[in-house]
Amino acid sequence: MDTIISPIALYLICVLGAVGIGAALPRRNKASEIVGGLLIAASVGFGTLVLALRASEIEGGLPNFFFYPFAILALGASARMITHPRPVYSALYFILTIIASCGMYLLLSAEFMAFALVIIYAGAILITYLFVIMLATQAPSSASEEFIDETDAVSREPILAAGIGFVLLAILTTAMFRGIGDLPAPPDETLAQESVLVNLPRKVERLLEREGLITNTERLVRNEDGTAAIDVVNRTITLENTDLGTTRTLEADQWPETLTAGNLDRLGYNLMHDHPMTIEIAGIILLMAMLGATVLARKHIELEDDLKAAQARKLGESMNPEMKSVPETGNA
């Protein structure tokens, strides 16, 4: 099986991206940022083009058109996030990345996760990050508005890291593209038969009640394993009268339009039915994280007075070199 896109194109994309990221990472020389940005753009654009061309060659292989803007947005925002010297902007670009990936989630018909991601990630976690950034960063004084702290202004070994990172990307994508062709999509029918509806008899009953297709004395027939007697393929529902003990079948023409299993149904059922223990563990992890964060953040650090003074002096010098020469006359 051939690769999905030509390895040469792939490695060219990787090299371009590596050079671009390596150049764009924060450093003293501001000019390289622009070069890096251009290279990254070239890399992303080239990649998009190659992928699009390849997809268009195959019938039905073309992804939704909206994939391309979301992908470009996500990757561009990611690149900007790691290259922007100001932490606040990094966080904001990350929110952009998340929103772009949420778009891709929608394209992958994971609507619930898409919106959950926006709410939890962009709405909660990233806001916490922003708070911490503001807490732990000195607000730049008016005199040095353009000042960027040394920590953020210069990145560490950017060339090496970018090289390693994109070598990793090249290997990953090569492996992926070579292997993914062997991964056939499952046929629809088998999945249709395993419809989640048979596992949700109460939901079906409530819906039938709302539609007026079922009386008070009737209920869905349960099979021995607790599943509802619904034939999803033939669209028939077997009901029984609990008073009379008689059964009747709702035929396909009576199948209500609204009786479908959506993304949320399937997700909820999967979560509760297949992963109950994992939920417990996740709950414990979250609880521990909450306790841990409380304990850690409450810890009171006593700095020695002279050490504090020394640090304050150092901070002042680095922030404002002229202050050294200004004598502190202490005029009130």
Partner: protein, 119 residues
């Protein structure tokens, strides 16, 4: 019942599986995001940004999970994104608490200020 109707229902409940050629697109984006998170983690000295980069890597993993889930027409991929979210949230809470604590010790966010473990 005719088969077309059942297929329609199945299409409602379970949309088409993503063809492998399309999934490769999503996986490429996912891998690229992951690598950029990794590069950010390796290069940026600001501890908050380092943790943001780990969040980016989580995000990349989430995208891959969703894509694979869609490919297999199951809900497991999405379920695991929920857990990824949980872990990310826990990590964010702990990491930020740690960052605040470390910041109080050194009055700086630079990870270079902590190298007591050098040999």
């Amino acid at each position: 019942m005719d088969m077309t109707h059942s297929v329609q229902l199945a299409q409602l409940a379970f949309p088409d599986a993503v063809p492998s050629i399309t999934m490769a697109h999503y996986l490429f984006v996912s891998a690229a995001m992951f690598v950029m998170g990794l590069i950010g983690f390796m290069t940026r000295k600001n501890m908050i940004i380092m943790f943001l980069c780990t969040e980016l890597m989580f995000q990349a993993a989430g995208l891959a999970l969703i894509a694979f889930g869609r490919h297999h027409l199951g809900a497991d991929g999405q379920t695991f994104v929920i857990f990824v979210l949980c872990v990310a949230a826990a990590e964010a809470a702990m990491a930020l608490a740690l960052v605040v604590l470390l910041f109080r010790y050194r009055e700086t966010l630079s990870s270079q200020a902590w190298k007591e473990l050098n040999g």
